[in-house]
Protein backbone atom coordinates (compact mmCIF):
# COMPACT_ATOMS: atom_id res chain seq x y z
CA UNK A 1 0.00 0.00 0.00
CA UNK A 2 2.93 2.34 0.77
CA UNK A 3 4.02 2.13 -2.83
CA UNK A 4 0.73 3.67 -3.91
CA UNK A 5 1.39 6.85 -1.93
CA UNK A 6 3.69 8.53 -4.53
CA UNK A 7 1.26 7.74 -7.34
CA UNK A 8 -1.64 9.00 -5.29
CA UNK A 9 0.31 12.16 -4.46
CA UNK A 10 1.08 12.65 -8.16
CA UNK A 11 -2.58 12.29 -9.07
CA UNK A 12 -3.61 14.74 -6.32
CA UNK A 13 -0.94 17.19 -7.54
CA UNK A 14 -2.25 16.90 -11.11
CA UNK A 15 -5.81 17.58 -9.98
CA UNK A 16 -4.61 20.50 -7.81
CA UNK A 17 -2.72 22.10 -10.71
CA UNK A 18 -5.77 21.72 -12.93
CA UNK A 19 -8.12 23.19 -10.32
CA UNK A 20 -5.78 26.12 -9.62
CA UNK A 21 -5.47 26.82 -13.33
CA UNK A 22 -9.27 27.02 -13.60
CA UNK A 23 -10.23 28.95 -10.47
CA UNK A 24 -9.79 32.71 -10.39
CA UNK A 25 -6.20 33.06 -11.61
CA UNK A 26 -6.41 36.83 -11.20
CA UNK A 27 -6.81 36.43 -7.43
CA UNK A 28 -3.64 34.39 -7.03
CA UNK A 29 -0.15 35.81 -6.50
CA UNK A 30 1.33 35.91 -9.98
CA UNK A 31 5.00 35.62 -10.84
CA UNK A 32 4.21 36.97 -14.29
CA UNK A 33 1.90 39.96 -14.37
CA UNK A 34 -1.30 39.13 -16.17
CA UNK A 35 -0.24 35.55 -16.75
CA UNK A 36 -2.30 32.48 -15.94
CA UNK A 37 -1.16 29.31 -14.14
CA UNK A 38 0.33 27.86 -17.31
CA UNK A 39 2.38 31.04 -17.84
CA UNK A 40 3.73 30.79 -14.31
CA UNK A 41 4.57 27.10 -14.63
CA UNK A 42 5.93 27.02 -18.15
CA UNK A 43 7.05 30.56 -19.01
CA UNK A 44 8.29 30.85 -22.57
CA UNK A 45 8.24 27.06 -22.99
CA UNK A 46 4.50 27.27 -23.61
CA UNK A 47 5.19 28.93 -26.96
CA UNK A 48 7.34 25.97 -27.99
CA UNK A 49 4.71 23.55 -26.72
CA UNK A 50 2.07 25.45 -28.66
CA UNK A 51 4.19 25.30 -31.84
CA UNK A 52 4.76 21.57 -31.32
CA UNK A 53 1.01 21.01 -30.99
CA UNK A 54 0.36 22.84 -34.28
CA UNK A 55 3.04 20.66 -35.85
CA UNK A 56 1.27 17.58 -34.47
CA UNK A 57 -2.02 18.80 -35.97
CA UNK A 58 -0.19 19.25 -39.27
CA UNK A 59 1.06 15.68 -39.11
CA UNK A 60 -2.53 14.55 -38.42
CA UNK A 61 -3.63 16.45 -41.54
CA UNK A 62 -1.14 14.33 -43.49
CA UNK A 63 -2.63 11.14 -42.03
CA UNK A 64 -0.07 10.93 -39.23
CA UNK A 65 3.02 11.40 -41.38
CA UNK A 66 5.45 13.91 -39.90
CA UNK A 67 6.14 16.07 -42.94
CA UNK A 68 8.37 18.56 -41.10
CA UNK A 69 6.81 21.27 -43.21
CA UNK A 70 3.71 23.35 -42.66
CA UNK A 71 1.39 22.91 -45.61
CA UNK A 72 -1.54 23.64 -43.34
CA UNK A 73 -0.05 27.03 -42.50
CA UNK A 74 -0.06 27.88 -46.16
CA UNK A 75 -3.79 27.16 -46.02
CA UNK A 76 -3.45 24.12 -48.16
CA UNK A 77 -1.98 25.23 -51.40
CA UNK A 78 -2.37 21.74 -52.79
CA UNK A 79 -0.16 22.36 -55.79
CA UNK A 80 2.57 23.52 -53.48
CA UNK A 81 1.96 20.53 -51.21
CA UNK A 82 2.09 18.16 -54.13
CA UNK A 83 5.31 19.76 -55.30
CA UNK A 84 6.80 19.34 -51.83
CA UNK A 85 5.83 15.68 -51.68
CA UNK A 86 7.63 15.13 -54.97
CA UNK A 87 10.56 17.13 -53.69
CA UNK A 88 10.81 14.92 -50.60
CA UNK A 89 10.59 11.81 -52.74
CA UNK A 90 13.43 13.09 -54.91
CA UNK A 91 15.51 13.85 -51.83
CA UNK A 92 14.91 10.38 -50.43
CA UNK A 93 15.87 8.86 -53.76
CA UNK A 94 19.08 10.92 -53.82
CA UNK A 95 19.92 9.82 -50.30
CA UNK A 96 19.38 6.20 -51.24
CA UNK A 97 21.74 6.46 -54.18
CA UNK A 98 24.40 8.27 -52.11
CA UNK A 99 24.88 5.64 -49.37
CA UNK A 100 22.60 3.00 -47.99
CA UNK A 101 21.70 3.66 -44.36
CA UNK A 102 19.83 0.62 -42.98
CA UNK A 103 18.56 2.52 -39.93
CA UNK A 104 17.08 5.25 -42.14
CA UNK A 105 15.62 2.59 -44.42
CA UNK A 106 13.85 0.87 -41.50
CA UNK A 107 12.58 4.16 -40.09
CA UNK A 108 11.33 5.27 -43.49
CA UNK A 109 9.38 2.04 -43.97
CA UNK A 110 8.00 1.79 -40.43
CA UNK A 111 6.87 5.41 -40.47
CA UNK A 112 5.64 5.17 -44.08
CA UNK A 113 6.37 8.65 -45.46
CA UNK A 114 5.24 7.42 -48.86
CA UNK A 115 1.65 7.54 -47.62
CA UNK A 116 0.12 10.68 -49.05
CA UNK A 117 -3.34 11.17 -47.67
CA UNK A 118 -5.05 14.15 -46.13
CA UNK A 119 -7.73 14.45 -43.51
CA UNK A 120 -10.81 16.10 -44.85
CA UNK A 121 -14.53 16.31 -44.15
CA UNK A 122 -15.60 15.26 -40.68
CA UNK A 123 -12.33 13.43 -40.10
CA UNK A 124 -10.55 16.78 -39.80
CA UNK A 125 -12.04 16.96 -36.29
CA UNK A 126 -9.09 14.75 -35.29
CA UNK A 127 -6.86 17.84 -35.51
CA UNK A 128 -8.98 19.89 -33.11
CA UNK A 129 -7.58 18.49 -29.81
CA UNK A 130 -4.06 19.51 -30.86
CA UNK A 131 -5.17 23.00 -31.87
CA UNK A 132 -7.01 23.27 -28.59
CA UNK A 133 -3.89 22.38 -26.59
CA UNK A 134 -1.88 24.76 -28.80
CA UNK A 135 -4.10 27.76 -28.04
CA UNK A 136 -4.43 26.81 -24.38
CA UNK A 137 -0.63 26.71 -24.12
CA UNK A 138 -0.23 30.00 -25.93
CA UNK A 139 -3.44 31.96 -26.53
CA UNK A 140 -1.45 34.40 -28.69
CA UNK A 141 -0.43 31.75 -31.22
CA UNK A 142 -2.24 33.31 -34.17
CA UNK A 143 -1.17 30.49 -36.50
CA UNK A 144 -2.91 27.99 -34.25
CA UNK A 145 -6.14 30.02 -34.09
CA UNK A 146 -6.28 30.76 -37.81
CA UNK A 147 -5.39 27.20 -38.84
CA UNK A 148 -7.98 25.79 -36.43
CA UNK A 149 -10.57 28.15 -37.94
CA UNK A 150 -9.51 27.14 -41.46
CA UNK A 151 -9.79 23.43 -40.61
CA UNK A 152 -13.24 23.87 -39.08
CA UNK A 153 -14.49 26.10 -41.87
CA UNK A 154 -12.93 24.68 -45.05
CA UNK A 155 -12.20 21.03 -44.19
CA UNK A 156 -14.98 20.15 -41.75
CA UNK A 157 -17.45 22.63 -43.26
CA UNK A 158 -18.67 23.32 -39.73
CA UNK A 159 -19.28 27.07 -39.89
CA UNK A 160 -20.69 27.28 -36.34
CA UNK A 161 -17.54 25.68 -34.92
CA UNK A 162 -15.38 27.92 -37.12
CA UNK A 163 -17.20 31.00 -35.82
CA UNK A 164 -16.71 29.88 -32.19
CA UNK A 165 -12.99 29.46 -32.79
CA UNK A 166 -12.65 32.79 -34.62
CA UNK A 167 -14.64 34.68 -31.96
CA UNK A 168 -12.56 33.29 -29.10
CA UNK A 169 -9.29 33.83 -30.97
CA UNK A 170 -10.21 37.46 -31.76
CA UNK A 171 -11.34 38.08 -28.18
CA UNK A 172 -7.98 36.94 -26.86
CA UNK A 173 -6.01 38.76 -29.57
CA UNK A 174 -7.82 42.07 -30.10
CA UNK A 175 -4.72 43.71 -31.62
CA UNK A 176 -4.21 41.04 -34.27
CA UNK A 177 -5.09 42.01 -37.84
CA UNK A 178 -5.22 38.38 -38.85
CA UNK A 179 -7.70 37.37 -36.15
CA UNK A 180 -9.96 40.33 -36.96
CA UNK A 181 -9.85 39.31 -40.62
CA UNK A 182 -10.52 35.66 -39.73
CA UNK A 183 -13.56 36.66 -37.66
CA UNK A 184 -14.77 38.85 -40.52
CA UNK A 185 -14.50 35.88 -42.87
CA UNK A 186 -16.25 33.63 -40.33
CA UNK A 187 -19.22 36.05 -40.29
CA UNK A 188 -19.31 35.98 -44.10
CA UNK A 189 -19.89 32.21 -44.20
CA UNK A 190 -23.30 31.11 -45.44
CA UNK A 191 -24.47 29.34 -42.30
CA UNK A 192 -23.39 32.13 -39.96
CA UNK A 193 -23.89 35.07 -42.30
CA UNK A 194 -23.91 38.47 -40.62
CA UNK A 195 -22.93 41.12 -43.13
CA UNK A 196 -22.83 43.98 -40.61
CA UNK A 197 -20.58 42.15 -38.15
CA UNK A 198 -18.40 40.91 -40.99
CA UNK A 199 -17.84 44.41 -42.36
CA UNK A 200 -17.28 45.78 -38.86
CA UNK A 201 -14.47 43.28 -38.41
CA UNK A 202 -12.90 44.14 -41.79
CA UNK A 203 -13.05 47.83 -40.82
CA UNK A 204 -11.35 46.90 -37.56
CA UNK A 205 -8.53 45.38 -39.62
CA UNK A 206 -8.10 48.73 -41.42
CA UNK A 207 -8.17 50.63 -38.10
CA UNK A 208 -5.56 48.34 -36.58
CA UNK A 209 -3.38 48.77 -39.66
CA UNK A 210 -3.75 52.58 -39.53
CA UNK A 211 -2.78 52.57 -35.84
CA UNK A 212 0.40 50.62 -36.49
CA UNK A 213 3.55 52.66 -37.01
CA UNK A 214 5.01 50.07 -39.32
CA UNK A 215 3.19 47.13 -40.86
CA UNK A 216 4.76 43.71 -40.53
CA UNK A 217 4.98 41.30 -43.43
CA UNK A 218 2.36 39.06 -41.81
CA UNK A 219 -0.10 41.99 -41.71
CA UNK A 220 -0.20 42.36 -45.48
CA UNK A 221 -2.41 39.35 -46.23
CA UNK A 222 -5.20 40.13 -43.69
CA UNK A 223 -5.10 43.84 -44.54
CA UNK A 224 -5.54 43.38 -48.29
CA UNK A 225 -8.01 40.53 -47.79
CA UNK A 226 -10.12 42.88 -45.66
CA UNK A 227 -9.83 45.64 -48.29
CA UNK A 228 -10.81 43.15 -50.98
CA UNK A 229 -13.88 41.91 -49.09
CA UNK A 230 -15.00 45.46 -48.24
CA UNK A 231 -14.54 46.58 -51.84
CA UNK A 232 -16.50 43.58 -53.07
CA UNK A 233 -19.41 44.43 -50.74
CA UNK A 234 -19.32 48.09 -51.85
CA UNK A 235 -19.34 47.01 -55.51
CA UNK A 236 -22.44 44.84 -54.92
CA UNK A 237 -24.17 47.86 -53.35
CA UNK A 238 -22.97 50.17 -56.16
CA UNK A 239 -21.41 52.33 -53.44
CA UNK A 240 -18.90 54.35 -55.46
CA UNK A 241 -18.12 56.67 -52.57
CA UNK A 242 -17.13 53.76 -50.36
CA UNK A 243 -15.00 52.31 -53.16
CA UNK A 244 -13.17 55.63 -53.44
CA UNK A 245 -12.48 55.69 -49.70
CA UNK A 246 -11.20 52.10 -49.85
CA UNK A 247 -9.03 52.88 -52.87
CA UNK A 248 -7.43 55.80 -51.04
CA UNK A 249 -6.76 53.58 -48.04
CA UNK A 250 -5.28 50.85 -50.27
CA UNK A 251 -3.04 53.39 -52.02
CA UNK A 252 -1.77 54.63 -48.64
CA UNK A 253 -0.73 51.11 -47.64
CA UNK A 254 0.61 49.79 -50.97
CA UNK A 255 -0.14 51.64 -54.23
CA UNK A 256 1.09 48.77 -56.41
CA UNK A 257 -0.61 45.90 -54.63
CA UNK A 258 -2.87 43.74 -56.87
CA UNK A 259 -5.84 44.49 -54.56
CA UNK A 260 -5.29 48.24 -55.05
CA UNK A 261 -5.37 47.74 -58.82
CA UNK A 262 -8.46 45.56 -58.49
CA UNK A 263 -10.31 48.33 -56.59
CA UNK A 264 -9.17 50.82 -59.25
CA UNK A 265 -10.69 48.60 -61.93
CA UNK A 266 -13.94 48.34 -59.93
CA UNK A 267 -14.19 52.13 -59.75
CA UNK A 268 -13.36 52.58 -63.44
CA UNK A 269 -16.12 50.14 -64.32
CA UNK A 270 -18.60 52.25 -62.31
CA UNK A 271 -17.59 55.56 -64.05
Amino acid sequence: MKRLIPYGALAVLGVLVWVLSQVAPAQMPQAIAGGDMLSVLLGDAKKDISGAMVHEADSYFHGGVDMDCHHLHDHHDHEHAHHDHEHHAEEDHDNETESFDPWRWINAHVRAPEIDRHLDGGKAVEMMPWFWVAVKSDPHNIDAWSTAWYSASHLMKDEALALRIATEGQRLNPESLEMACVLGRAYRAEATRDQAKSEAMFHKVLELAEDKKELEESDELPLFSALGYLADSARHRNDTQKLTVLLNAARRFAPNHPTTHAIERMLEARR
Binding site: M1, R3, L4, Y7, G8, L10, A11, G14, V15, Y60, G63, G64, V65, D101, P102, W103, R104, I106, N107, H109, V110, R111, A112, I115, G122, V125, E126, M127, M128, P129, W130, F131, W132, V133, A148, A152, M156, D158, L161, R164, I165, E168
Partner: protein, 260 residues
Amino acid sequence: MKGSMRRIGALVKLSLLELWRRNDMFALLVLSLVLLVPLSLARPFGASGATRYFDEVALLLVWGYSLFIALGIGGRLFTSEFANRTVYPLLAKPVSRGELLVGKYLGAVTASWSALAFFYALWAGASLLRGGECLTVCFFQAFILHALFAALAVAAAVEGSFLLTPSASTTLLAILFPSMFFFGRHLPDYAENVSGVLRWLVNAFYWIAPHVEFFDMRQRLVHGWGGVEAGVFLAVVGYGVVYSAVLLFLAHFLFKRKRL
Protein backbone atom coordinates in the same frame (compact mmCIF):
# COMPACT_ATOMS: atom_id res chain seq x y z
CA MET B 1 19.39 -30.30 -20.97
CA LYS B 2 15.99 -31.25 -19.52
CA GLY B 3 17.17 -30.34 -16.02
CA SER B 4 18.50 -27.04 -17.28
CA MET B 5 15.18 -26.21 -18.92
CA ARG B 6 13.33 -27.09 -15.71
CA ARG B 7 15.58 -24.81 -13.65
CA ILE B 8 15.14 -21.97 -16.15
CA GLY B 9 11.38 -22.58 -16.11
CA ALA B 10 11.31 -22.26 -12.32
CA LEU B 11 13.18 -18.94 -12.50
CA VAL B 12 10.73 -17.65 -15.14
CA LYS B 13 7.76 -18.53 -12.92
CA LEU B 14 9.37 -16.80 -9.96
CA SER B 15 9.87 -13.51 -11.89
CA LEU B 16 6.32 -13.60 -13.19
CA LEU B 17 4.90 -14.02 -9.69
CA GLU B 18 7.13 -11.25 -8.39
CA LEU B 19 5.74 -8.68 -10.85
CA TRP B 20 2.09 -9.46 -10.22
CA ARG B 21 2.55 -9.59 -6.43
CA ARG B 22 3.89 -6.05 -6.47
CA ASN B 23 1.44 -3.13 -6.59
CA ASP B 24 3.13 -1.47 -9.58
CA MET B 25 0.57 -2.71 -12.06
CA PHE B 26 -2.34 -1.60 -9.92
CA ALA B 27 -0.75 1.82 -9.43
CA LEU B 28 -0.18 2.21 -13.19
CA LEU B 29 -3.78 1.26 -13.86
CA VAL B 30 -5.06 3.87 -11.40
CA LEU B 31 -2.76 6.48 -12.94
CA SER B 32 -4.08 5.61 -16.40
CA LEU B 33 -7.66 6.05 -15.27
CA VAL B 34 -6.86 9.41 -13.66
CA LEU B 35 -5.27 10.62 -16.89
CA LEU B 36 -7.44 8.99 -19.53
CA VAL B 37 -10.98 9.33 -18.18
CA PRO B 38 -10.95 13.18 -18.23
CA LEU B 39 -9.15 13.01 -21.59
CA SER B 40 -11.88 10.82 -23.06
CA LEU B 41 -14.52 13.35 -22.00
CA ALA B 42 -12.75 16.33 -23.59
CA ARG B 43 -14.59 18.25 -26.31
CA PRO B 44 -12.07 20.69 -27.78
CA PHE B 45 -13.81 23.92 -28.92
CA GLY B 46 -17.06 22.06 -28.27
CA ALA B 47 -16.41 19.65 -31.16
CA SER B 48 -16.98 15.94 -30.61
CA GLY B 49 -15.87 12.89 -32.56
CA ALA B 50 -12.09 13.10 -32.25
CA THR B 51 -10.64 9.76 -31.10
CA ARG B 52 -7.14 9.49 -32.51
CA TYR B 53 -5.62 11.84 -29.93
CA PHE B 54 -6.98 9.56 -27.20
CA ASP B 55 -5.53 6.45 -28.85
CA GLU B 56 -2.20 8.19 -29.29
CA VAL B 57 -1.97 9.37 -25.68
CA ALA B 58 -3.10 5.97 -24.38
CA LEU B 59 -0.48 4.17 -26.47
CA LEU B 60 2.19 6.65 -25.39
CA LEU B 61 1.29 5.84 -21.79
CA VAL B 62 1.60 2.11 -22.55
CA TRP B 63 5.07 2.79 -23.97
CA GLY B 64 6.03 4.73 -20.86
CA TYR B 65 4.71 2.00 -18.58
CA SER B 66 6.46 -0.76 -20.50
CA LEU B 67 9.76 1.10 -20.20
CA PHE B 68 9.16 1.74 -16.50
CA ILE B 69 8.36 -1.94 -15.88
CA ALA B 70 11.19 -3.30 -18.05
CA LEU B 71 13.85 -1.07 -16.50
CA GLY B 72 12.51 -1.72 -13.02
CA ILE B 73 12.45 -5.49 -13.37
CA GLY B 74 15.73 -5.69 -15.28
CA GLY B 75 17.52 -3.32 -12.92
CA ARG B 76 16.67 -5.19 -9.75
CA LEU B 77 17.06 -8.65 -11.29
CA PHE B 78 20.52 -9.22 -9.83
CA THR B 79 21.12 -6.22 -7.60
CA SER B 80 18.51 -7.42 -5.10
CA GLU B 81 20.01 -10.93 -5.22
CA PHE B 82 23.44 -9.50 -4.45
CA ALA B 83 22.15 -7.12 -1.77
CA ASN B 84 20.13 -9.85 0.00
CA ARG B 85 22.91 -12.40 -0.60
CA THR B 86 20.31 -14.81 -2.03
CA VAL B 87 22.49 -15.30 -5.10
CA TYR B 88 24.77 -17.63 -3.11
CA PRO B 89 22.23 -20.36 -2.37
CA LEU B 90 21.05 -20.08 -5.98
CA LEU B 91 24.54 -20.66 -7.34
CA ALA B 92 25.32 -23.27 -4.66
CA LYS B 93 22.64 -25.45 -6.25
CA PRO B 94 23.62 -26.92 -9.59
CA VAL B 95 22.72 -23.73 -11.45
CA SER B 96 25.44 -22.16 -13.58
CA ARG B 97 25.85 -18.39 -13.86
CA GLY B 98 24.74 -18.63 -17.50
CA GLU B 99 21.58 -20.55 -16.57
CA LEU B 100 20.83 -18.10 -13.79
CA LEU B 101 21.25 -15.14 -16.14
CA VAL B 102 19.15 -16.66 -18.93
CA GLY B 103 16.49 -17.94 -16.52
CA LYS B 104 16.10 -14.67 -14.68
CA TYR B 105 16.20 -12.70 -17.94
CA LEU B 106 13.49 -14.85 -19.52
CA GLY B 107 11.45 -14.49 -16.34
CA ALA B 108 11.78 -10.72 -16.41
CA VAL B 109 10.89 -10.61 -20.11
CA THR B 110 7.87 -12.86 -19.56
CA ALA B 111 6.72 -10.64 -16.71
CA SER B 112 7.15 -7.52 -18.88
CA TRP B 113 5.27 -9.17 -21.72
CA SER B 114 2.41 -10.17 -19.45
CA ALA B 115 2.08 -6.55 -18.30
CA LEU B 116 2.27 -5.38 -21.91
CA ALA B 117 -0.39 -7.88 -23.00
CA PHE B 118 -2.62 -6.61 -20.19
CA PHE B 119 -2.28 -2.97 -21.32
CA TYR B 120 -2.74 -3.83 -25.02
CA ALA B 121 -5.86 -5.83 -24.13
CA LEU B 122 -7.21 -2.78 -22.27
CA TRP B 123 -6.40 -0.53 -25.23
CA ALA B 124 -8.03 -2.96 -27.67
CA GLY B 125 -11.09 -3.22 -25.41
CA ALA B 126 -11.43 0.56 -25.22
CA SER B 127 -11.03 0.80 -29.00
CA LEU B 128 -13.68 -1.88 -29.60
CA LEU B 129 -16.09 -0.13 -27.24
CA ARG B 130 -15.76 3.02 -29.35
CA GLY B 131 -16.57 0.99 -32.43
CA GLY B 132 -13.00 0.83 -33.68
CA GLU B 133 -11.39 -2.03 -35.52
CA CYS B 134 -8.35 -3.08 -33.59
CA LEU B 135 -7.58 -6.79 -33.97
CA THR B 136 -5.75 -6.25 -37.25
CA VAL B 137 -2.40 -7.40 -38.63
CA CYS B 138 -1.04 -3.99 -37.67
CA PHE B 139 -2.18 -4.46 -34.07
CA PHE B 140 -0.39 -7.79 -33.72
CA GLN B 141 2.74 -6.46 -35.44
CA ALA B 142 2.70 -3.47 -33.09
CA PHE B 143 2.39 -5.77 -30.09
CA ILE B 144 5.21 -8.07 -31.23
CA LEU B 145 7.57 -5.15 -31.91
CA HIS B 146 6.64 -3.54 -28.60
CA ALA B 147 7.35 -6.86 -26.86
CA LEU B 148 10.77 -6.94 -28.52
CA PHE B 149 11.38 -3.42 -27.26
CA ALA B 150 10.58 -4.62 -23.74
CA ALA B 151 13.00 -7.55 -24.15
CA LEU B 152 15.71 -5.15 -25.31
CA ALA B 153 15.05 -2.76 -22.42
CA VAL B 154 15.26 -5.61 -19.88
CA ALA B 155 18.54 -6.82 -21.45
CA ALA B 156 19.96 -3.27 -21.30
CA ALA B 157 18.87 -2.91 -17.68
CA VAL B 158 20.45 -6.25 -16.72
CA GLU B 159 23.70 -5.37 -18.46
CA GLY B 160 23.65 -1.88 -16.93
CA SER B 161 23.18 -3.31 -13.45
CA PHE B 162 26.51 -5.15 -13.80
CA LEU B 163 28.31 -2.01 -15.02
CA LEU B 164 26.90 0.72 -12.76
CA THR B 165 24.96 1.13 -9.55
CA PRO B 166 21.24 0.30 -9.98
CA SER B 167 20.08 3.91 -9.71
CA ALA B 168 22.76 5.21 -12.10
CA SER B 169 22.01 2.49 -14.64
CA THR B 170 18.24 3.00 -14.47
CA THR B 171 18.57 6.79 -14.72
CA LEU B 172 20.92 6.58 -17.68
CA LEU B 173 18.63 4.16 -19.53
CA ALA B 174 15.55 6.19 -18.61
CA ILE B 175 17.19 9.11 -20.42
CA LEU B 176 18.71 7.14 -23.31
CA PHE B 177 15.62 5.16 -24.34
CA PRO B 178 13.12 8.05 -24.53
CA SER B 179 15.77 10.21 -26.25
CA MET B 180 16.30 7.56 -28.92
CA PHE B 181 12.57 6.94 -29.14
CA PHE B 182 11.81 10.57 -29.97
CA PHE B 183 15.03 11.84 -31.58
CA GLY B 184 16.99 8.76 -32.71
CA ARG B 185 15.98 9.05 -36.35
CA HIS B 186 17.03 12.72 -36.45
CA LEU B 187 20.63 12.05 -35.36
CA PRO B 188 22.08 12.21 -38.92
CA ASP B 189 20.47 15.66 -39.29
CA TYR B 190 22.09 16.80 -36.02
CA ALA B 191 25.43 15.39 -37.21
CA GLU B 192 25.20 17.48 -40.38
CA ASN B 193 24.93 20.65 -38.30
CA VAL B 194 28.08 20.04 -36.26
CA SER B 195 31.66 19.49 -37.33
CA GLY B 196 34.87 17.78 -36.29
CA VAL B 197 34.98 15.33 -33.40
CA LEU B 198 31.41 16.08 -32.36
CA ARG B 199 30.10 15.04 -35.78
CA TRP B 200 32.09 11.82 -35.60
CA LEU B 201 30.72 11.15 -32.09
CA VAL B 202 27.11 11.80 -33.12
CA ASN B 203 27.52 9.52 -36.13
CA ALA B 204 29.14 6.79 -34.01
CA PHE B 205 26.31 7.09 -31.48
CA TYR B 206 23.78 6.84 -34.32
CA TRP B 207 25.22 3.51 -35.44
CA ILE B 208 25.72 2.00 -31.97
CA ALA B 209 22.83 3.27 -29.82
CA PRO B 210 19.65 1.17 -29.56
CA HIS B 211 17.17 2.42 -32.15
CA VAL B 212 14.08 1.82 -30.07
CA GLU B 213 12.07 4.00 -32.43
CA PHE B 214 12.06 1.07 -34.91
CA PHE B 215 9.59 -0.73 -32.63
CA ASP B 216 7.15 2.17 -32.49
CA MET B 217 4.10 1.47 -34.64
CA ARG B 218 1.79 3.89 -32.82
CA GLN B 219 1.29 6.11 -35.86
CA ARG B 220 0.34 3.11 -38.01
CA LEU B 221 -2.16 1.92 -35.40
CA VAL B 222 -3.66 5.32 -34.63
CA HIS B 223 -4.03 6.46 -38.24
CA GLY B 224 -4.95 3.05 -39.66
CA TRP B 225 -2.05 2.74 -42.09
CA GLY B 226 -1.99 -1.06 -41.97
CA GLY B 227 0.94 -3.29 -41.12
CA VAL B 228 4.53 -3.00 -42.29
CA GLU B 229 5.90 -5.15 -45.12
CA ALA B 230 7.11 -8.59 -44.05
CA GLY B 231 10.73 -7.81 -44.96
CA VAL B 232 10.79 -4.66 -42.85
CA PHE B 233 9.04 -6.42 -39.98
CA LEU B 234 11.60 -9.24 -40.01
CA ALA B 235 14.46 -6.73 -40.20
CA VAL B 236 13.19 -4.99 -37.04
CA VAL B 237 12.62 -8.33 -35.29
CA GLY B 238 16.17 -9.36 -36.25
CA TYR B 239 17.55 -6.06 -34.98
CA GLY B 240 15.78 -6.48 -31.63
CA VAL B 241 16.84 -10.09 -31.17
CA VAL B 242 20.48 -9.46 -32.13
CA TYR B 243 20.76 -6.30 -30.01
CA SER B 244 19.23 -8.02 -26.97
CA ALA B 245 21.51 -11.06 -27.48
CA VAL B 246 24.61 -8.85 -27.65
CA LEU B 247 23.59 -7.05 -24.43
CA LEU B 248 22.94 -10.38 -22.71
CA PHE B 249 26.26 -11.72 -23.91
CA LEU B 250 28.00 -8.65 -22.42
CA ALA B 251 26.02 -9.11 -19.20
CA HIS B 252 27.11 -12.76 -19.08
CA PHE B 253 30.72 -11.73 -19.61
CA LEU B 254 30.50 -9.21 -16.76
CA PHE B 255 28.66 -11.67 -14.50
CA LYS B 256 31.30 -14.33 -15.08
CA ARG B 257 34.07 -11.92 -14.14
CA LYS B 258 32.24 -10.65 -11.05
CA ARG B 259 33.74 -11.69 -7.74
CA LEU B 260 31.11 -13.04 -5.37
